[in-house]
């Protein structure tokens, strides 16, 4: 127990919420224009992956940050979204635009199924149970021949359809995918913004801070966790479907591995858990850093990139436990005023 209880459920002033929405809109426009002067594929790809992870971290943040349930099994929802949309496309010819929604829905349902038994557990027991559930499905997918087993699923480029938004296939152009992941991240951010100001947001933060006190105030703890899990799972699954379409090939190692379950929350944790801007800032710092150090130092196979990456995580977590977002001056001013 903490000596000074954390107060997550503070009231954000309407003015501040409006300011955040405007900031979000301005950032959205800037990010939409960002790739226009950039032409090399490497940088464009880097930006797309960064934005995708900002969205995924925000999706995790809804359950892990606002509701306080530290899930370390989000690779399951990512993988389920990717597989559902990819298989609907290759087996049934369903356009990925719908496959993405179906993938999100199945992932959201999966989050409910996982949550039903696991939300009875608290603290570390919950975190480890989610790791284990993720790992079980990774192993099952690896050995399930119907969905391609370890070989995975290949999403072929259909020449007859050409460049198409409905089918989400673009031969070499990265710009459309930039807009798609940006739309996804914006949706995740907007959902978090709506939750932050809604009754649900207050209830969830109460569940996070002190579940027993929340229950004594007639907060229905279990349904709150389930709602957060469903929304978080849905968004994560959508991200998985987009990733599958972007990369064109998925296998259990690339979309369901336990490593991914850490990579998804990491930007949110380092940027600021349970904050609107934490996942965005965390991803903007972390993903380029890890990608660039990997491409410049990782080629030797000598682990220098891993040392830098790991050391950075340790340093940020120790020096900025409240997240990098707290470095922004206006946030500090608000925190002092509150």
């Amino acid at each position: 127990m903490e000596a000074v209880p954390a107060r997550s459920a503070q009231t954000a002033s309407p003015a501040r919420r409006r300011r955040e929405l405007v900031t979000g809109a301005v950032l959205l426009v800037l990010l939409a224009l960002l790739p226009l002067p950039i032409h090399d594929t490497y940088t464009r790809n880097l930006i797309i992956i960064t934005i995708l992870f900002a969205g995924l971290a925000q999706a995790w943040n809804i359950l892990g940050g606002y509701c306080g349930q530290i899930s370390l099994g989000h690779s399951l929802y990512f993988g389920v979204g990717a597989y559902v949309s990819a298989l609907l496309l290759t087996r049934a010819g369903v356009p990925p635009v719908f496959g993405m929604l179906a993938g999100g829905a199945v992932a959201g349902a999966a989050a409910l199924l996982v949550g039903w038994p696991c939300f009875r557990l608290s603290g570390h027991y919950y975190a480890i149970a989610t790791v284990v559930v993720g790992e079980i499905f990774y192993l099952l997918f690896l050995n399930w021949d119907f969905i391609g087993g370890a070989t995975g699923v290949n999403i072929p480029y259909k020449r007859a359809l050409g460049e198409s938004w409905l089918w989400m296939q673009f031969r070499t152009d990265k710009l459309p995918f930039h807009m798609i992941v940006l739309g996804f991240a914006a949706l995740a951010w907007l959902v978090a913004w709506l939750i932050e100001g809604s009754r649900w947001g207050y209830v969830w933060r109460a569940v996070k801070d002190d579940p027993i006190a929340a229950r004594s105030l007639a907060v229905r703890v279990f349904p709150s966790k389930m709602a957060a899990a469903a929304i978080s799972g849905f968004l994560t699954g959508m991200g998985g479907a987009i990733y599958a379409q972007y990369v064109g090939y998925i296998d259990p190692d690339s979309v369901m591995s336990g490593q991914l379950s850490i990579l998804i929350p990491l930007p949110a944790v380092l940027g600021g858990v349970g904050t609107l801007w934490g996942p965005v800032i965390g991803a903007a710092v972390l993903i380029p850093l890890s990608e660039v150090s990997r491409s410049y130092l990782g080629g030797s196979g000598r682990g220098v990139d891993l040392m830098i990456y790991g050391g950075l995580i340790v340093l940020v977590a120790l020096l900025r436990p409240q997240g990098l977002a707290s470095l922004l001056a206006w946030r500090r001013r608000d925190a002092r005023a509150a």
Partner: protein, 291 residues
Amino acid sequence: MSLSLFLQVAVGGLLMGLIYALVAAGLSLIFGLMDVVNFAHGELLMLAMYATFVLWQFSGLDPLLLIPAVSLLLFGAGVAIYRLLIQRALSVRFNRGMVQIFVTFGLAILIRGAAQFVFSGEFQSINKSWLSGRKLDLAGVFLPLPQLAAAIVCLIAFGALLLISRTEFGRALEATREDRDAVALIGIDRDRIFALGWGLGTATVGVAGAMLAGFYYVSPNVGANFALIAYVTVALGGFGSLMGALVAGLLIGETEAMTALFVDPALKQVGMFAIYLLVLMFRPRGLFGTM
């Protein structure tokens, strides 16, 4: 299926289960003491295995003789990790639970990178020792001696841990676990106890690593798999319970072996994870857990 095959697999599961139990005991000790889950636990096991490998290469001593040296090294590593990182992580004012998870996780990546830097990513193994390749024939059931020795050492280590818990130091550990602030009033230095607790936990892993290196390959990524099993074992047995780690380790080892035998070797981990989830449905704090 013959009876001797069944017995062979059952005994194999038992021997492996004891190793799992000892790895988990180190993790459980640290958790029980200060409520910190060490996500670098597998990497410490990997370090212990490499330490054994390197010492064996340079000195030519048998891994069995290297146990004291390796566990002492790991004890030092544990104390250093506590003093440099965990002590700070425990004193942060925000998101304490998450800071602990991600500090130890970052440390895990750091250690893995360092191991890759020093040893490269190749698989290596100790191929010459007193016991390697030898088997004990028990009426048609063959016990590989390195595994048997490892299991015996694990039991001895468990005995030692139980003895330590009865000493003055063990009682100080218990008191600090109960109330970390109150112990200061009776002259116990909390940070010193925590540091020693970390040392003891990692030294336990040192023993397990030294024994494991005698018959298992070493690579920078070897820890991840054992770590996952260790978390499951600890949660199944109940965080902080030594007895729980032992029982859960054996249960996990047997389940793994039986799933491989009766279902599919590729799904052996699914079996142990499923048992864990099943038990958690009925005992949300594990078999012996109170926290």
